[in-house]
């Protein structure tokens, strides 16, 4: 029997689940005081259509800002729907046209700690409650990942809380099987915590023991912590969960720890890169939370933990991943500056980590929307065909298919993304969506 067709990465939360400044309009000069009315204004379809048209002329905006604006408008196009069920139905409709019984994985997001100035209208508890209702309606299609944030719950308390979602569920419509409410665990470090936070230690142990897959957001773009206390969240030497000294991978973890600490130090040396500010401008600092190197200590400690780093590092990083010298590329100046201080191209780093850690996966979501760019497509093909250092298996066996619905809706709608995959990556599409996804879940 074939493995079910799986879209590993979509979102169904609505704009009410996010704090008012989720779109970070405050970072656009002159608009910073009007986050709420602008959000309300952008929720009007007519306004969004106009922005869509203007976007082609917005050459003077930096690529980063344009991407953010695109995401903002995309987010509101679908995110302003009445409820999460309606959002899910849009994505399911597309997936069903490719497969009769698709498995769509929706990532919940705990955004209660994202901003220090305001809370979302719908707190995470209500978002989750609504998601469980969708699971009851679509037990065989809807597979939510439960979002966690160590600032909300940590340690054994977190495990006790999350255990309910994996030990209780609903009856499948296709068989007598009881399918658990949760399909996996979602962590979004860019919202203001490190994935190696010791408060997550028990959770990782629980997930490894029960074979629950984990998904981490891992690009420099996307939503991020927009509060005003970034310095408090990034100590110079943050506490880190580490494997025992007897562990064979202890050396690796220690080396990673040293590099992580020195990167934080370098970021602090840069003026305003880590600086408390009123407007939630933490673009540089939030990279420290999501950095691929942060996963080394936990992969060393929990080698059987299934981890997926979403977005393959991001299209910008993929585009220049095979350059001999990053500073000689045509990459934007800011990105070159970041690479200089960071010391890594994330796509290269993730690819290399995949070679060394057999349970590390990546998904192509979000990056799909840039498959029409020749360099991105070429580098992804190369990545898929490379082999790991463990069993000489191709890395393409651990790349998953996802669309990041509805974050890329402005560039390409969901149908187009599926078509892109089919036309640009051919046979890889089915492999990613079926057997790779099956391996990730089992």
């Amino acid at each position: 029997m074939n493995s079910p067709f799986t879209n590993i990465h979509i979102h169904v939360f609505t704009s009410e689940c996010a704090p008012p400044n989720f779109l970070r309009v405050r970072t656009f000069k002159g608009l910073k005081w009007f986050a709420k009315p602008i959000k309300k204004w952008l929720e009007k379809p007519k306004v969004r259509k106009r922005i869509w048209r203007w976007d082609k002329r917005l050459k003077y905006l930096s690529r980063n800002r344009r991407t953010r604006l695109n995401k903002a408008v995309s987010f509101l196009s679908v995110g302003s729907k009445s409820n999460q069920l309606e959002v899910f139905r849009v994505s399911l409709k597309v997936a069903k046209s490719y497969n009769g019984y698709p498995r769509v994985v929706a990532h919940t997001l705990d955004m209660d700690f994202m901003d220090t100035n305001s809370l979302p209208i719908i707190p995470y508890a209500t978002q989750l409650h609504e998601v469980l209702e969708i699971k009851k309606y679509y037990p065989d299609n809807f597979f939510p990942f439960i979002s966690v944030d160590p600032r909300s719950r940590s340690g054994q308390n977190l495990v006790n809380w999350i255990d309910y979602y994996f030990t209780h569920g609903v009856k499948s419509n296709l068989s007598d099987e009881i399918i658990s409410f949760g399909a996996g665990i979602k962590l979004y470090p860019a919202h203001g915590f490190f994935p190696f936070d010791p408060g997550l230690d028990e959770l990782y142990a629980y997930a490894e023991k029960n074979k629950i897959p984990l998904m981490f957001h891992c690009t420099r773009v996307g939503s991020q912590y927009i509060g005003r206390a970034i310095e408090q969240l990034i100590p110079e030497k943050p506490e880190m969960l580490m494997p025992t000294e007897q562990s064979p991978d202890f050396q690796k973890a220690q080396k990673a720890q040293g590099e992580i600490y020195s990167r934080i130090y370098r970021y602090y040396q840069k003026k305003k890169w880590i600086k408390n500010n009123k407007h939630g401008v933490n673009d540089f600092a939030c990279d420290l939370f999501s950095h691929p190197q942060n996963y080394i200590p936990l992969m060393c400690k929990y080698p059987d933990l299934k981890i997926c780093l979403a977005h393959m590092g991001g299209d910008e990083e993929i585009k220049f991943m095979n350059a001999t010298n990053l500073q000689d590329t045509k990459a934007p100046k800011t990105l070159k500056k970041i690479w200089d201080v960071d010391g890594h191209n994330w796509a290269v780093l993730i690819k290399n980590l995949m070679k060394d850690y057999k349970n590390l996966y990546a998904d192509i979501s979000s990056t799909i929307s840039e498959l029409d760019e020749k360099q991105v497509l070429q580098n992804i093909r190369l990545w898929l065909n490379e082999t790991d250092n463990i069993n000489q298996n191709t890395l393409g066996d651990r790349i998953l298919f996802g669309t990041d619905f509805f974050m890329t809706e402005m560039q390409h709608d969901e149908y187009e993304l599926y078509q892109f995959m089919q036309s640009k990556l051919g046979n890889w599409f089915n492999k990613m969506a079926q057997s790779n996804a099956n391996n990730y879940f089992n």
Binding site: E16, I121, T126, Y164, T167, G169, V170, K171, I178, F181
Partner: protein
Amino acid sequence: MRTIEILIALALVYAILSILVSVLVEWRSGRKKLRGTMLRQVIYQMLDDPLNQNYGYLLTKHPLIDSMKNKEDNRPFQYLESGLFADALIDIICDHSDTGIPVVATANTGVNDTSVQVPDVVKLFENGLLNMKPSPFQKSLQGMFAKSDHKYENLKKSIEVWYNSGMDRATGWYKRKLGKISLIWGFVVAITLNADSIHMFKVISMDSNLRNNLNIMAEGVASNYILLDSVQKFDMEQQLNLIVSQQVAKLNVTDSSRFEIQVGKAISQNLNQYDSVNQLRISQINQIMDVTAQLGLPIGWNKNEAPLSWDKQDIARWFMRGKEEKILRKTKNRYDEYLQQRNENPNFGSLFLWLLGIVITGVMLSYGSPFWFQILVKLVNIRKSGLKPKTVKNE
């Protein structure tokens, strides 16, 4: 008696213009979804429970309620019946009792057995309450549940009573909010129509023909109002119909050309391009404009009347008081003299009185048409107990 007649005429003018304000307020609040938005805010506030869930959100998204929404333009529901509110809220709390099926269980190990049982809603509600974290909202619900004597009807009834009292307060908030909006629109109408209360008062007091016409119409409006108000609740549209039905055309109108309304005609020519609600509102505005035009009310912008009739020399003369007097035409009577003084020989006082007149109109119109209709009825009753008005003659 003349004073009463002037007051009746003024009350009628305010009643007509405040219908216009009501039309505009309704139009604006409809476009801004004010009623629905406020209802949602109140529900969110009533069901606020940060320790558990956002029950306000869950209630508005409950299929029973969400299905009533206009999904095309995302317009929230404008009204929520208390019974529906109670049913939806009980459902939501009952949901807390559904904790899912243990994954280790299979469909053959007891899961099917429970699915065939008819669930006892009250029991589910009780379990739902127990599964909630302790919070002020949970405490309120527990209080209602404790008094229900484990009967669904009693529980629903007490939630309904609570909801209705919440809505009574919300109605007060809504009215206060509308009052503020009416004040703004009152000023907009007063300025747009150049409706200067002091000028209207003076013209009505001096122009007995106009006063008489207004009084005849007021009498008809008042008698019908009493008749209709006793049968049903009298809303803005009925008030408008009442005014229009008074057959203004049959009255002896002195100078309907005084107020030329081109805007209404222009709008009605392009009426087809608006949706049905907008068309209704525009036609209502047109009707009011027609009535005011036919009555020959002393309102509107005209370059022969203040303040448009004031030229630069008039304004310059304010600063050279006593140095140069303007030579005025000789007039036949007090009315013409007043008009000449106001329109052709203004001073600081004229400007002040004009501004004051506009402010008074704005404030008066904000009281709303029901208020002015009631005042009108009372004044007409007072007059009826006295002498009948004399026939027309310019004083």
